[in-house]
């Protein structure tokens, strides 16, 4: 037998699985070959050493650890682990996702911005030239303004408009009759614009201090179209200016009386609703504008509106005011009397 052949058989021979014939031949070879015998001795030593290798035992709590892992767990820790671990992979992923979502939201808002402005602008359009100017800025055709000119208060609530950080304007129109105000209507109007002539206008702002502006005018015989919020014909028309002076004086006094009465009624209403009058400018009792600043608990706002309604019915429903936003509403009510 050759040494190379012998080398192949040593392992089997060591384990005692060599057939008898081969084993005998190998034994003969080993007895004559020092090198192969050494090889065999080394191999045997190694295998013996391996056989005697210390057995590493499982830890004492091995079974408990397995039980723990077998229990279905839906603990907070597991959720956190699933969400955030491994940190170096999931945290950047989550940041990336958040960034993408933010970009999408902002781009959607940016796309919708002109549309929202349009809603706002048309809501307050009421034929005001200032509003038309603003709409021109958005390149909206006059036809579109006309078609959307009718204000829809349900879709332009104070909350929605407040998000744009713009003053919300509520126009209140009261037609003064012989025995006081008979009609009220509320609409949206730009705070910066002049009070609507020939009308009583209420203005409500929700920027930080919401306010309602009222302006009142003597009850001149008005053309019927003046009642419409969309088509306001200025009361100071040449026709009216040309009316007889005596009649005018008489009517003005009557209107001033109505004005004072209206102010007193309003103050009473405010006081009955736990509100308070903060200031009242009456430098010239018979001059307009007169301004009353009142504070009203926000939760009483609905009652306030109801009281106003009792004075005269609303032609358009007043906007609702979110109670949770602040505890009290400050209202600046100015009564403007045009001559």
């Amino acid at each position: 037998m050759e040494c190379s052949k012998s080398g192949e058989l040593l392992s089997d021979y060591l384990d005692g699985i060599l057939d008898l014939k081969s084993a005998t031949e190998l034994e003969v070879h080993l007895s004559g070959c020092e090198r192969c015998r050494q090889e065999f001795d080394h191999l045997k030593a190694l295998v013996t050493e391996l056989n005697r290798m210390e057995s590493i035992r499982a830890p004492d709590d091995f079974l408990n650890q397995i039980h723990k892992r077998l229990q279905p767990r839906f603990s907070f820790d597991n959720v956190v682990k699933k969400l955030f671990f491994p940190l170096r992979i999931k945290i950047p992923l989550e940041f990336a996702a958040a960034a993408i979502v933010a970009v999408i939201i902002f781009s959607v808002l940016a796309i919708r911005q002109p549309e929202r402005q349009l809603v706002r602008a048309t809501g307050r359009s009421i034929s005001s030239s200032a509003v038309e100017k603003e709409l021109d800025g958005y390149r909206v055709s006059p036809e579109l303004i006309k078609s959307k000119a009718k204000p829809d208060l349900r879709h332009t609530t104070p909350r929605k408009l407040a998000e744009e950080n713009q003053p919300i304007v509520l126009a209140m129109v009261i037609k003064i009759g012989e025995s006081g105000p008979v009609t009220q209507s509320m609409g949206i109007q730009d705070a910066a614009t002049e009070p609507l002539p020939g009308k009583v206008a209420g203005v409500m702002e929700t920027e930080s201090r919401p306010s309602i502006h009222f302006s009142e005018q003597k009850s001149m015989p008005q053309p019927p179209v003046a009642e419409s919020a969309e088509k306001i014909v200025p009361a100071r028309s040449p026709r009216q200016a040309a009316s007889p002076r005596k009649d005018e004086q008489e009517v003005k006094e009557k209107a001033l009386l109505n004005l004072s009465e209206t102010i007193q009624r309003l103050i009473k209403i405010v006081q009955s609703l736990e509100g308070s009058v903060l200031s009242e400018s009456d430098t010239e009792p018979f001059q307009s504008p007169r301004m009353v600043t009142v504070s009203l608990p926000a939760r009483r706002y609905d009652e306030f509106v109801a009281e106003l309604e009792r004075m005269a019915p609303f032609r358009m429903p007043p906007p609702s005011y979110p109670v949770s936003d602040q505890d009290s509403i400050h209202m600046q009510i100015s009564f403007i009397l045009s001559d």
């Binding site: 089997d12 056989n51 057995s55 590493i56 091995f62 079974l63 397995i66």
Partner: protein, 201 residues
Amino acid sequence: MNKIELHPDPTHNEDANLVAAFQAGDKSAFDGLVRKHKDRIFNLCYWFLGDYQEANDCAQDTFIKIYRNMLKFRFKSTFSTWAHRIAVNTCKNRLKSFHYRFSRKIVRLDNRGGTSNPDGDIADETYSPAVEHEKMERRLRIRKAINTLPTEKKTVIVLRDIQGLPYEEIVNLTGLPLGTLKSKLARARKDLRAILSGEMS
């Protein structure tokens, strides 16, 4: 001739009874199987992976796989063979896994040149006088040498020489033909000896 004693498991009937009990709905039978086999499986994993913590993870994985698959066990082999097969496959997968390679690289870097108690991950060992220390060093060298073997050679040498499983069982659980197993084992032993005597780096 020094014939290596083969270890046919004389208690495989006990295993079969426990498996049958488990399959009949007695989940606590699993605990008995774990208690009986955990050390052997753990040892196998330890020598296969060369790391105590990895061995712990793999041994746990093995028993969890056993738990989840025991209802499908059809007694075509002994429970022990089946369990060893699962353990070997789990270890092989672990060796292939990115996590194992990555963590091993870290350990290797950390341990480079460091000789202070490198074998300290064995729980029941304490630092001992010179002889013990020498034994420990030798064991560490063998463990490292086994670790450098390719997976197939490592498998046969761990199963045969460390675990002391009979050829028949190794054939059963690895699926290798007996002839292949014999030659692989012979080569693995030769390589290991070469590594340990410094003939191979």
